[in-house]
């Protein structure tokens, strides 16, 4: 049995289920208790689990991230609520120098089973410090796993998997998707890391879409079908680990690909994904893999500018058409 619920509700369910299952799981962050976060995602949890397991902190991201590392090292399973992905910059030392490395540096003696729940996504008119999509930064750090749910279904299944993982996991939710609904099983389920999902089968071109770009690529695929182009849409779901096999299978079939991601394109994740595909499917490609990331500018506040910085369905469809028409995209 499956019902339609919002991504926000899906996250709430995942947390509630895991907290019921395992008393070591707790939530820590700013305004997570009575307020249930500014996005109201956690509503009801403090009532069920109490303030001992849904812990409101002072505005001290490095501090509560550090506490989470220590709690995880000593047997608990913290879920850190980082209100905005932009605040990752504040917790980088505790996350990347401490949490990510402790297991390796201790030769396997210490482990840090924790989850950092945060978000990404622009076009919310929140300006440069509340709109970034910073998953590329943490994807680069050995020892961290990175999940990027693209709907309520993935959000629930990946978060439950993250909470049960014995490593530090950073999961990015698209803050513009919190109210979007998707079919989610009533029964418990988990989604494996490192397994991409083909969202729509196609034969002419592969659209690789992370998180917020899933809806963009699905729209683009619809537009393309009107033009007689059959686009395959595939969601990696996790970028660390990355399901190379899954992506390659699709690209080898279609021989063309566009990697679409909301992080800044320059030195972002599209370069890594495109490179891996090029290295391993080079002789199957009719054209270079195209990357479409967010514009490499700080996110502007003005609506007139902000919308220009993020890949849109129209732009993706247009690019796909040109690719399929054999046009050289990057002619110098």
């Amino acid at each position: 049995m499956s019902r339609e619920i919002t991504l926000s509700k899906a996250v709430n369910e995942a947390l509630a289920e895991e907290m019921r299952r395992d008393e070591r799981v707790f939530i820590i962050g700013e305004d997570v208790a009575e307020a249930g976060t500014p996005f109201k995602i956690l509503s009801g949890l403090v009532e069920e689990f109490g303030t001992d397991r849904v812990i409101d902190t002072p505005i001290a991201e490095p501090g509560f991230m550090g506490l989470a590392v220590g709690a995880a090292m000593t047997g608990m399973r913290p879920v850190v609520d980082l209100m905005f992905g932009d605040f990752l910059f504040l917790i980088m030392d505790q996350l990347c120098n401490q949490a990510a490395k402790a297991h390796y540096m201790s030769g396997g003696k210490l482990s840090v089973p924790l989850v950092v729940r945060t978000n990404l996504g622009a076009t919310r008119r929140s300006a440069a410090q509340h709109s970034q999509s910073l998953h590329a930064l943490v994807a680069h750090i050995p020892g961290l796993k990175i999940a990027m749910p693209s709907s309520a279904y993935e959000a629930k299944g990946l978060l439950k998997t993250a909470i049960r993982d014995n490593n530090p996991v950073v999961i990015f939710e698209d803050k513009l998707m919190y109210q979007d609904k998707a079919f989610v099983p009533a029964e418990e389920y988990l989604l494996p890391f490192g397994k991409a999902k083909v969202l729509r089968e196609g034969t002419d071109i592969t659209l690789i879409a992370t998180s917020s770009m899933r809806q963009v690529c699905e729209k683009a695929a619809n537009m393309l079908s009107d033009d007689g182009i059959s686009a395959e849409v595939i969601d990696p779901r996790t970028i660390v680990p990355l399901d190379e096999q899954g992506l390659l299978a699709s690209v080898k079939k279609t021989s063309r690909a566009i990697v679409v991601d909301e992080g800044h394109q320059n030195y972002g994740i599209t370069g890594e994904i495109a490179s891996r595909l090029t290295e391993k499917a080079f002789y199957h490609l009719d054209a270079p893999v195209v990357r479409m990331g967010a514009m490499s500018v700080p996110v502007p506040f003005s609506p007139a500018l902000e919308d220009l910085t993020v890949p849109s369905a129209v732009k993706v469809a247009d690019m796909a058409l040109r690719l399929c028409a054999g046009e050289t995209i990057h002619a110098l």
Binding site: A127, F301, S302
Partner: protein, 338 residues
């Protein structure tokens, strides 16, 4: 901007500036409620005596750093309604050409180094401005505005230590409005804020933030002393925000009572009380104050209308200002000389 004017002028300008802030926020709130404002914004209403009492003690060369709740600081430091509303609406004539918006509004011509959307994010900036003043032999001071919640950020302790060691002309101003977002201050602040500053050897004062004369008095005193190299200083001001954490925070019962809100608005409003005092002192009359209020509201409305009709920045600006001296940041990334 040497201060050669009678107290009367000072008093009336302080009143006027407080009313201007209130009027600005009322209009901003209306813009949100009527769905004309992009995004959310944080109202300063209720805290006017602090921004005005402090900034009236400053010259245009003195620098301030502001917060996500920054409209009050911006107005008090000398900004105009038109450019401010244009910024809030993302228009090209805004102080930041619409690129910053409410949370990043800056007005460096008047010494406002900008609002900041990272809580505590400007503590280093203000302290660094004070470093410039001292190292370059300037005599401006820097005032760092922040909220009670921001005192949880470790950055504050790092920069207080350096400011104290190097005797920098910076004044840390904590507007304690009793809440950080939806959390009561006493739930997230252990010990005493003034003691935290004093532990670094920094002189600290706790003042009623609703009394503009009290705020202005301590500000004049400490700014003068900071200029003489006696800084840094810390001031904690007790105040209250009338609206929600942001304009969208309408139902607040789960974290604070209507009674509490009413009490502050009815009994401790900084504008009403200062107005009464001005009358009782015979400095002005009720009529004059009403006229002033009406004029200011009219100004604000006119500025809103102007901003609503003003043009957005041109699309070509999207990659301007990424780098100083580079017209288009994107082509620059590829090493294309610009």
């Amino acid at each position: 901007m040497a201060k050669t004017k009678t107290n009367t002028e000072d008093y009336l300008r302080m009143y006027r500036q407080m009313v201007r802030i209130r009027a600005f926020e009322d209009q901003a709130n209306q813009l949100y409620l009527s769905a004309k404002m992009p995004g959310l914004t944080h109202m300063y209403s209720g805290q006017e005596a602090i921004a005005v009492g402090i900034c009236e003690a400053l010259t245009v060369e003195d620098r301030i750093t502001s917060t996500h709740r920054g409209h009050g600081h911006c107005v008090a430091k000398g900004a105009e309604f038109k450019q401010m509303f244009c910024e809030l609406l993302g228009k090209a004539e805004g102080y930041c050409r619409g690129k910053g918006g409410s949370m990043h509004i800056a007005d460096q011509a008047n010494g406002n180094l900008g609002a900041n959307a990272i809580v505590g994010g400007s503590m280093g900036i203000a302290t660094g401005a004070a470093l410039t003043s001292k190292r370059m032999g300037k005599d401006f001071v820097a005032v760092c505005f922040f909220g009670d919640g921001a005192t949880a950020q470790g950055l504050w302790y790092e920069v207080m230590n350096m400011a104290a060691l190097w005797k920098l002309p910076v004044i840390y101003v904590c507007e304690n409005n009793g809440y950080s977002e939806y959390t009561r201050t006493d739930e997230v602040v252990a010990g005493s804020l003034t003691a935290r500053a004093e532990a670094f050897g920094i002189e600290a004062h706790k003042i009623d933030g609703q009394d503009v004369l009290a705020v202005n008095k301590i500000a004049n005193e400490l700014v003068a002393r900071a200029r003489k190299g006696e800084g840094p200083f810390f001031i904690e001001l007790e105040t209250y925000r009338y609206h929600g954490h942001h304009v969208g925070d309408i139902n607040r019962d789960y974290y604070r009572t209507k009674e509490e809100e009413a009490e502050w608005k009815n009994v401790r409003d900084p504008i009403t009380n200062f107005g009464k005092w001005l009358e009782s002192e015979g400095i002005t009359s009720a009529e004059e104050l009403v006229t002033m209020n009406d004029e200011i509201r009219a100004d604000a409305e006119a500025a809103v209308k102007y901003a609503l009709d003003a043009p957005y920045p041109d699309a070509s600006e999207v990659d301007a200002h990424v780098f100083v001296g580079v017209e288009h940041g994107l082509s620059y990334l590829d090493g294309a000389v610009t």
